[in-house]
Amino acid sequence: MSVAKLRVFRGDSQGGEEKEYEVPVDEGMVVLDALFYIQANYDGDLAIRWNCKAAKCGSCSTEINGKPKLACKTRMDSFEEGETITVYPIKAFPVIKDLVTDVSWNYEVSKKIPPFTPAEDTEWIMYQEDVERGQEFRKCIECFMCQNVCHILRDHNRKDVFAGPRFMIKIAEREMHPLDVLDRREFAREEAGVGFCNITKCCTEVCPEDIHITDNGIIPLKERVVDKYYDPLSWLLRKIKGK
C-alpha cells in the first residue's frame, strides 16, 4: 500500500492555511476516502460536505490540484506516484470552514425562477423525443461546479446580474418543457442576465453529468431571447400592440 501526501486547506472566513497529511492509499480509493481517513485519524473537525459518495448528490465539490472536482469521483490513482494533492474549497463562494463554502446564494436564485406552469386543460401526453431535451438538464445534481468556474461569477463576482449556468439550464428546461405555457424570456434577459454569458463553455467542461450546458441550454435560450427582443417582426408587433 502506497502513501499519498495531501495538502488540505484548513481555515474559515478569516483566512487559513494548507495542512499536510499522509494517507495510506487502497485500491480504487477516491479523494473523499482520503479526507475521511484524515477525519478519523488526524483531525476529526475537518469540514467537508458529502452525502452519497456515489457521484449522485453533488455535495462534495472541491478544487483538487486547482481543478473543480467531486471529491467522491476523483480517484487517488489518477495522480502520479509521489504527487502532492492539494484540496481547496470552491473559489466562487465564501468559505465557511475548511472545504465547506456558503452556497446559499444559489438557493435564492433558484427560488426566483418562475415555476413550471401547465395550461389548465393539459392532457398530459408527452413523447420521449420531446422530454429528452428537458431530461438532459434535469440530470443536474447541483454540485455548483459550473457556477464555480463561470468567470462572471468567479472572477468578476457579478452575482448581482448573472444567475449562472446552473440556472440558465433550469430556465431552459422550463422553457423547453413540452407542456409549459409561461414565457420566461424577459426573466432570462432582465433578471437572470443571459446576455452576460459569452460562451466560453467552461461550465460545460466541468459538468460531472456531461450536460451540454452551453450548446443545448444557454445558446438556445439566448436565441429565444433574441427572437423576442430583436426579431424585426416581433419588434413591429410589439409596437403595434403597445407592449
Partner: protein, 572 residues
C-alpha cells in the same frame, strides 16, 4: 446557558427527502405554518440516490395492472406481516401521487403513446415502475423541491435536530443545532413529522448516505414512541464489491429489470435453483440470500460476489436505460458494463421496521408525533419490494402532512421548559469538555463491524447475542466521547449524537432479531430456517423505552377484514 434562536410553527417536518418534502407541501397547503428542517442542503437527501423507479399501478404498459394486484404483491412480498391498511392505501393512492409529480413538472420516461413508461421489477406482477432512466430519485426530489420552495414553506438547511421536546404526553417542540455555526436552535410546534429516513450507516457496507444514522427512530424512541419490526432490514442483493472504497454502492435492480442475468463462478445461472419461476426478478430477500449462499459455498466471483451481466442488451440500450450504472462502473471500477459483467454482493439498503404509525394520518404512539417514509414502520412488512419506497414516501408523506396539519390546527403552543433545553445543550457540548474519552469515529467503525458481522443476511441466536454484548460495550464506551476543534462545522462533534442514534437503532435491530425465532422475509435465522405462520406470522415485534432501558414485546398483527383476506385465499 448559551443564547439560542427560537422559531415557532404549527408543523415542523424533520428531514427533507421525498417524504419530508411531500409532507411539508401538504401541511402548508392545508394552511399550517410549516418548517422543513434538513441535515444537508436541500435536494441532497437520500431520495436523490434512488434509481430504478416508483411503483404505481398506472397500467400504462401492462393494462391488466390494478391496485388490487399491487396490494397483493406488496403483502406477499412483505410475507403478510405488513400493516395491511397502509399497503392498501399505498396501492390505491400511488398512481395519483405519481401523476401529481408530472403535474408539478417531472419528466418521466414515456411510452410510445406519450404516457409515463413503466418497467419490470422484482416481486411486481406487471411492469409497474415509473422511471427516468436509472435516476428516478433525483427526478422526484427535484420536482418536490421545486414545488416545495414555491409552497410557502420555511426551509432550515444544515440544521440537525437532536431532541424532541414533550409537554406531558405530547410533543411540543424540537431542539438541535446549526451545523455551520454549531449554535443551538429551538423549534416550537404543535405537530412534528419525522421523515428522517433509515439506519444504514450502522453497517460497514451500505448503499446509504451519511445522513442515514437513524435519528428519527432514536428520537422517537427516546420520546416514548414504539418502534415496530426493527429486525427487518433489507440487504439489497446487488451492491458493488470492488474496489474496496466503493463496496456497498448500489447497483440498481433496474439492471435485472432490464434483463440482467446473475451467474456464479461456474457460469451457472444459479437463480434457477432458488426461484426458477421468477429467476433474477425474485424478491430482494430471496436474491440476496441466493448470492450470499453462492459465495459462501465457494462459487463466488474473484472479489467475493456474483456476476451480473446486462451486456447482451447491447451498448446503446444499456447506456440509455442505465446511464448511471454505466458511468459508475466505468469511473469507479474501470469496468465497461456494456461489454462484460459486474460483480455484486448484498449491501445494507433499507429498514422495513420503524416508528409504529397508523395508516390514516401516520400518527405515532406519541400524540403530535407523526412519521412518514423509511423512518415509519409497518407498510413493507418483512420485506420491501423495489420501487415501493418511492411510492410509500409520496403516499404517506402526503397523509402525514395532512394529519399533522389537522392535529396542529387550533392548538396553542405549549411552553418549553428552559431547564430541559439547558440539559440537552449541556449533553451535546459534553464531548468538547471531556478531557479524556473515546474518538467517535473509532466507535462508529467498531459498531459497523459488529453489525456487519453479527446482524447480517443470515443470523443465529449465538451471533445475535454476541452482537448485543458488543453493542452494550460500545454504549458504555460512547458515554464518554472526546473531540477536537471548535463548534463550527465540526463533523467529529456531529458524529457524537449521530452515533448515539445508531447505537439505539442497532440495539433495537439486534433485540428484535434475537426474539423472532423464525425466518421471514429479510430476517433469516439459520437456527430457525422455516417461517412460523401459526405464531410469529401473526406477531409484530415492538420495542419501546421502559425505565430507561429497551423493552421488547410482541403484539398481534392488525387483522385483515374478510373483504381483503379473501383476495389471498382466492389465489390458492
Amino acid at each position: 446557558m448559551e443564547k439560542y434562536e427560537t422559531h415557532t410553527h404549527d408543523v415542523i417536518v424533520i428531514g427533507a427527502g421525498g417524504a419530508g418534502l411531500r409532507a411539508a407541501i401538504e401541511s402548508s397547503a392545508k394552511g399550517a405554518s410549516t418548517a422543513l428542517i434538513c441535515k444537508s442542503l436541500l435536494g441532497k437527501a437520500h431520495t436523490v440516490m434512488a434509481e430504478g423507479g416508483v411503483a404505481a399501478a398506472l397500467a400504462n404498459v401492462d393494462t391488466k395492472d390494478n391496485w388490487e394486484t399491487h396490494f397483493k404483491d406488496t403483502m406477499k412480498g412483505g410475507k403478510m406481516l405488513n400493516n395491511w391498511q397502509m399497503a392498501l392505501y399505498h396501492a390505491k393512492e400511488a398512481p395519483e401521487r405519481v401523476r401529481e409529480l408530472e403535474y408539478w413538472g417531472a419528466l418521466f420516461d414515456r411510452t410510445k403513446e406519450g404516457r409515463i413508461n413503466q418497467r419490470a421489477f422484482g416481486g411486481h406482477t406487471w411492469k409497474r415502475l415509473a422511471h427516468v432512466g436509472d435516476r428516478t430519485g433525483l427526478e422526484m426530489i427535484r420536482t418536490l423541491q421545486e414545488k416545495g420552495i414555491h409552497s410557502g414553506i420555511d426551509v432550515y438547511m444544515e440544521c440537525t435536530i437532536t431532541h424532541l421536546i414533550k409537554d406531558g404526553d405530547r410533543v411540543v417542540g424540537a431542539f438541535g443545532y446549526w451545523r455551520e455555526s454549531g449554535k443551538f436552535v429551538l423549534f416550537r410546534a404543535n405537530a412534528i413529522v419525522l421523515a428522517t429516513g433509515g439506519v444504514g450507516k450502522a453497517y460497514k457496507y451500505t448503499s446509504n448516505s451519511w445522513e442515514y444514522t437513524g435519528d428519527g427512530h432514536a428520537m422517537a424512541y427516546e420520546a416514548g414512541a414504539e418502534l415496530i419490526d426493527m429486525e427487518f432490514i433489507q440487504f439489497h442483493p446487488t451492491g458493488m464489491v470492488w474496489p474496496p472504497s466503493v463496496r456497498g454502492i448500489l447497483v440498481t435492480e433496474a439492471v435485472r429489470g432490464e434483463g440482467g442475468i446473475l451467474t456464479n463462478s461456474e457460469g451457472e445461472r444459479f437463480m434457477e435453483r432458488y426461484d426458477p419461476e421468477r429467476m433474477e426478478l425474485s424478491t430482494r430477500d430471496v436474491v440476496a440470500r441466493s448470492i450470499y449462499t453462492e459465495v459462501e459455498q465457494g462459487r463466488g466471483s474473484p472479489h467475493g460476489g456474483a456476476f451480473l451481466d446486462v451486456s447482451h442488451r447491447g451498448a446503446d440500450y444499456v447506456k440509455r436505460k442505465l446511464p448511471s450504472m454505466y458511468h459508475q462502473f466505468m469511473e469507479f471500477a474501470d469496468i465497461d458494463i456494456t461489454k462484460g459483467p459486474m460483480e455484486v454482493f448484498p449491501t445494507t439498503h433499507y429498514v422495513m421496521g420503524g416508528v409504529k404509525v397508523e395508516g390514516d394520518t401516520c400518527s405515532s404512539t406519541v400524540p403530535g408525533l407523526f412519521a412518514a417514509g423509511e423512518v415509519a414502520g409497518g407498510m413493507h412488512g418483512a420485506n420491501r419490494l423495489g420501487g415501493n419506497s418511492l411510492s410509500d414516501l409520496l403516499v404517506f408523506g402526503k397523509r402525514a402532512g395532512e394529519g399533522a396539519a389537522a392535529y396542529a390546527n387550533g392548538k396553542s403552543h405549549a411552553s418549553v421548559s428552559a431547564e430541559l433545553v439547558e440539559g440537552y445543550a449541556n449533553e451535546l457540548r459534553e464531548p468538547f469538555n471531556n478531557t479524556q474519552g473515546e474518538n467517535p469515529y473509532t466507535i462508529h467503525q467498531d459498531l459497523q463491524d459488529v453489525m456487519q458481522l453479527y446482524i447480517g443476511v443470515f443470523r443465529t441466536e449465538e451471533n445475535i447475542q454476541k452482537g448485543i454484548d458488543e453493542i452494550e460495550k460500545l454504549k458504555e464506551r460512547a458515554k464518554t466521547l472526546k473531540i477536537e476543534g471548535s463548534v463550527m462545522f465540526n463533523p467529529g462533534w456531529h458524529l457524537c449524537r449521530d452515533l448515539k442514534s445508531m447505537l439505539i437503532v442497532s440495539e433495537a435491530l439486534a433485540r428484535c432479531a434475537l426474539a423472532r425465532k423464525e425466518s421471514r422475509g429479510a430476517h433469516s435465522r439459520v437456527d430457525f430456517p422455516e417461517s412460523d405462520d401459526g405464531t410469529w406470522g401473526k406477531l409484530n415485534s415492538i420495542v419501546a423505552i421502559k425505565d430507561g432501558a429497551m423493552d421488547f414485546v410482541t403484539r398481534p398483527i392488525m387483522e385483515m377484514p374478510d373483504e381483503f383476506s379473501k383476495m389471498f385465499t382466492e389465489d390458492k
